[in-house]
C-alpha cells in the first residue's frame, strides 16, 4: 500500500533537560481510566512500528456519548492510539498492535471480525480535509451507497440532507450539491468530511486534529459542531490545542512519549493536574 511513514514517528523534541528525563519513567496512568458506560474498553495497548513502540501499555475506557480529548506533545502517540480504534493502523506497513481493544465487549482485532464493519461503526475525520474529488452529494452519499443503506433515491437524498444538516453545512451547500467538494473552503471541506462520516451512522467518530488546518472562525464552527454531535455520538478527538480540548471535551487524556500519563475529567486536568508532566504541559513549560 502507501509508503510506510507513520504519522507520529517524529522523535519527540520536547525532552531536553535532565529534570524531565528523570520523570520519563511513567509506569502507571494517573487518574480513573474507567467509565461506567464504556463504548471502547482498551487494556494494555501497545503499538509497534517495526521494532519501535509507537504507543506503550495504554489502558482507557471511552464512555458513551462523551467527548474524549487526547492531548500531548508531537510524537506522543495520541494519533497512533486513535488509529487503533478503527484499525487504520492496518494500512501502515510494519505496524503491530498488542493488548485488547473491545468495542461493546467485542474484540476489534479478532480475525473473524470484518474490519469494514468496524470502520462503519467507528468513523473517522482526518487532520487535513480529504473530500473525494467528486460532487458534494456524491461525497456524502458514498458511504450509504457502499453499504446499501437506502432503498430509493429519495431515501438517499434525505440521508444526504440530514447528514449535511447535522454537520451544519446544509445551508451553505444546498443549492450546489453537484459542485465538486474540493471547491469548498477548508472549513467547509472539513464539515463535509464530518457529514460524510455521519452519513454511514457510526457510533463513534474519531477526529485526528480536525481543526489544525483551519482558521479560527472555521475552527469555532467545528468545535460548536462537536458539541452538538455529542448528543448522538461518542467522539474521540486528538488535538494540539489545549483550549480546544478544554472547550469541547468532558474527559481528557494526556499522552507523553507513547504512554498515557493522566486521564480525568477535563475540568480537573486543566485546573488540578495530578501528574507533574501533565502540569508542565498544560502550563506551557514545554510542548
Amino acid at each position: 500500500m502507501n509508503t510506510a511513514t507513520a504519522p507520529e514517528m517524529e522523535i519527540p523534541a520536547v525532552v531536553g533537560s535532565e529534570e524531565l528525563d528523570r520523570r520519563e519513567a511513567v509506569s502507571e496512568t494517573v487518574g480513573d481510566i474507567t467509565h461506567p458506560d464504556p463504548v471502547f474498553t482498551c487494556r494494555n495497548v501497545t503499538v509497534w512500528y517495526g521494532d519501535k513502540p509507537g504507543v506503550q501499555d495504554v489502558s482507557i475506557d471511552i464512555g458513551r456519548h462523551e467527548v474524549l480529548a487526547m492531548i500531548g506533545p508531537s510524537g506522543c502517540g495520541k494519533s497512533t492510539f486513535l488509529r487503533c480504534l478503527n484499525r487504520m493502523n492496518d494500512t501502515i506497513e510494519g505496524a503491530r498492535v498488542e493488548g485488547t481493544l473491545e468495542l461493546d465487549g467485542q474484540d476489534i482485532y479478532d480475525p473473524a471480525l470484518f474490519v469494514e464493519e468496524l470502520r462503519t461503526r467507528v468513523g473517522m475525520v482526518f487532520q487535513k480535509p480529504n473530500p473525494f474529488p467528486k460532487s458534494i452529494y456524491d461525497n456524502v452519499a458514498y458511504g450509504p451507497r457502499l453499504h446499501g443503506m437506502t432503498r430509493s433515491k429519495a431515501d438517499l437524498d434525505d440521508l444526504v440532507r440530514e447528514s449535511l444538516e447535522k454537520a451544519a453545512l446544509w445551508n451553505e451547500v444546498k443549492d450546489r450539491l453537484d459542485e465538486p467538494g474540493t471547491g469548498l473552503s477548508g472549513g467547509q471541506q472539513q464539515r463535509l468530511c464530518i457529514a460524510r462520516a455521519i452519513a454511514v451512522k457510526p457510533e463513534v467518530i474519531l477526529m485526528d486534529e480536525p481543526a489544525s488546518a483551519l482558521d479560527p472562525i472555521a475552527t469555532a464552527k467545528i468545535e460548536e459542531l462537536i458539541d452538538e454531535l455529542r448528543e448522538n455520538y461518542t467522539i474521540v478527538i486528538v488535538t494540539h490545542s489545549m483550549q480546544q480540548a478544554a472547550r469541547v471535551s468532558q474527559r481528557t487524556a494526556y499522552f507523553h512519549m507513547g504512554r498515557l500519563v493522566e486521564v480525568g475529567p477535563t475540568t480537573e486536568i486543566f485546573t488540578r493536574p495530578r501528574h507533574q508532566l501533565t502540569e508542565d504541559y498544560i502550563t506551557g513549560r514545554f510542548g
Binding site: M1, R119, N130, H147
Partner: protein, 436 residues
C-alpha cells in the same frame, strides 16, 4: 545588462572594499547566468533546426507520392474482349482481356507506330496495372460495355518519375520515341498528375506506381489492437497489484527492479524471444499481426506498468484513507477512487507505449513481418506487415520510384505518432487533478 552595471558603478563611486568585492562577484555570477541561458537557446535552436530539416526533407521528397501521373486513353470496351462468356456476370467480366483494351487504345492513339519493338515501347508508357484499373472500373459500371470512353489510367513509374522531374538525365529510362509520344499526349492534355488512389488503398506492389500503404496500415492496426488488448489489462492489473496490494519485501523489490530493467531491454531481444517462445514453442503462425502484437505487448508492458504505478502513486493516500475509514474494502477504495483518479495518467502512459510500439521495426523483422504483402490483411491471423517495416522495405528497394513512397509512408507514420501524442497531451490536460 551592461547598462545596469554601468548605472551601478555611477552611483557607487565611494564604496567600501567589501561592497566592491560583492558587486564584482554578483557581476560575475550574472555573466555566468547569461552565458548559461545562451547555451540553452543554442541547444534548443540546434535541435529545432535538425527537426525542421528532417521534416522538410521528408515532406519535400514524399509529398509527390500522393499524386500519380495518369494518362487518358479512349478505351473501347469491346464486349467480346471484356465479356468472354457473353452473360455480363461479374465472373465473366473478371476474366476479360483488359490488357488488350489498353494496347488497342494506345495503338489507335498512335497509328503511325508499326514495329513490334516500338509498340512494346509504347505500351510501357502506361502502368502494367492499367488493365486492372479498367477491370475494376468496368465491374463498377457494366453499362460501359460496347462503348468508347475516355478513361484515366496510371502511367508507368518511368513516366511518373519523368513527369515529376525526379530523375537525373542519366537515369531517364525513356527513349527518344517514348518522350516524343509523351510530349504528344501532354500537348493533347492527356497527361495529368492526379490524386494517387492506390497509395492508401493498396498493398505493396512490384510496380511502384501502384504500391500503397493500405496493407501496412491495416497490419499496424491489427498488431496494435492485439498489443493494446493484451498489454493494457495486464499492465494495469500488475501496476495496481504492485502498488496497492503487494507486500513490500525482497521479492517485490526484485520484481520492481526487473520491470524497470525490462523497459530498457533493446527491442530486438523481444523479437528473438517472440521467435523462440511464440513461434517455435507455441506455434503461433509467423508473419501475423497476432505474433507481432504479442511481441510488442511484451515490449509495451513495462512502460504501462511503470507509468501506471507512477499514476497510482500520485493519488494522495488521504483519498484511500477516506474511503477505508467509511468502511470500503481495499479493493473498493482502489476501484472507486484511486483507479479512476489515476486513469488519465495510466492512459497517457499507454498511449505513449502504443506510439512506441507503432514505430517499432526491429522485433518484427525477427518474426517474419518483413514479408512482401500485397493483400490487405482482414484479421490478426492474415500475414501482414506494418508501417515502419514497409518503410524499411521501400527504403531498401532498388527502384528509384520507391524513394517518394517511403518518404510519404514516413509522413503518414509521423502523422499517426503526432496524433497519438496529441491525444496523450489532451487527456492529461483534461483530467489532470490538482491536489491542494
Amino acid at each position: 545588462m551592461n547598462n545596469a552595471d554601468d548605472a551601478m558603478d555611477a552611483i557607487s563611486s565611494p564604496v567600501p572594499a567589501r561592497l566592491q568585492r560583492l558587486r564584482r562577484n554578483i557581476r560575475r555570477r550574472r555573466r555566468a547566468e547569461r552565458r548559461f541561458r545562451i547555451y540553452g537557446v543554442v541547444a534548443v535552436t540546434i535541435g529545432l533546426v535538425f527537426v525542421l530539416f528532417l521534416f522538410a526533407n521528408i515532406v519535400a521528397k514524399g509529398w509527390s507520392a500522393f499524386l500519380l501521373t495518369h494518362v487518358q486513353l479512349d478505351v473501347h470496351f469491346d464486349s467480346a474482349t471484356v465479356d468472354p462468356e457473353g452473360d455480363r456476370s461479374p465472373q465473366s467480366l473478371a476474366r476479360g482481356d483488359y490488357a488488350k483494351l489498353v494496347k488497342t487504345a494506345l495503338r489507335e492513339r498512335f497509328p503511325q507506330v508499326r514495329k513490334r519493338r516500338d509498340k512494346r515501347a509504347l505500351y510501357k508508357l502506361v502502368s502494367s496495372a492499367a488493365p486492372y484499373v479498367l477491370r475494376d472500373r468496368l465491374l463498377e459500371h457494366p453499362e460501359w460495355i460496347g462503348r468508347t470512353l475516355p478513361v484515366w489510367v496510371p502511367a508507368s513509374d518511368d513516366v511518373d518519375l519523368w513527369m515529376k522531374g525526379q530523375v537525373a538525365s542519366a537515369d531517364v529510362r525513356l527513349d527518344e520515341k517514348q518522350r516524343a509520344w509523351l510530349s504528344a499526349l501532354i500537348e493533347q492534355g492527356r497527361v495529368e498528375k492526379r490524386w494517387n488512389p492506390f497509395f492508401f488503398s493498396r498493398g505493396d506492389s512490384r510496380q511502384p506506381e501502384v504500391a500503397g500503404i493500405g496493407a501496412a496500415v491495416a497490419g499496424s492496426f491489427f498488431t496494435l489492437l492485439v498489443t493494446l488488448l493484451l498489454s493494457f489489462p495486464i499492465g494495469v492489473a500488475a501496476a495496481v497489484y504492485l502498488e496497492e496490494f503487494a507486500p513490500k519485501n525482497r521479492l517485490t523489490d526484485l520484481i520492481e527492479v526487473n520491470i524497470n530493467n525490462l523497459a530498457a531491454v533493446p527491442s530486438i531481444v523481444f523479437g528473438l524471444l517472440g521467435l523462440a517462445a511464440f513461434i517455435q514453442f507455441f506455434g503461433v503462425p509467423r508473419s501475423t499481426p497476432l505474433v507481432g502484437g504479442l511481441v510488442l505487448a511484451l515490449m509495451t508492458l513495462p512502460t504501462i506498468i511503470v507509468a501506471g504505478r507512477a499514476a497510482l502513486q500520485a493519488v494522495p493516500p488521504s483519498i484511500r484513507d477516506a474511503a477505508l475509514a467509511l468502511g470500503a474494502s481495499r479493493m473498493q477504495a482502489v476501484t472507486h477512487h484511486v483507479l479512476p483518479l489515476s486513469l488519465s495518467g495510466i492512459l497517457t502512459g499507454t498511449i505513449i507505449g502504443m506510439a512506441r510500439a507503432l514505430g517499432e521495426t526491429a522485433p518484427l523483422l525477427m518474426i517474419g513481418m518483413v514479408a512482401f504483402i500485397v493483400d490487405i490483411p482482414r484479421g490478426p491471423l492474415d500475414p501482414a506487415t506494418v508501417l515502419p517495416v514497409q518503410i524499411y522495405l521501400w527504403a531498401d528497394a532498388a527502384e528509384r520510384a520507391y524513394v517518394e513512397k517511403s518518404s510519404a509512408a514516413i509522413m503518414v507514420l509521423l502523422a499517426f505518432l503526432l496524433l497519438m501524442n496529441l491525444a496523450a497531451i489532451l487527456l492529461r490536460r483534461r483530467f489532470e487533478q490538482r491536489w491542494q
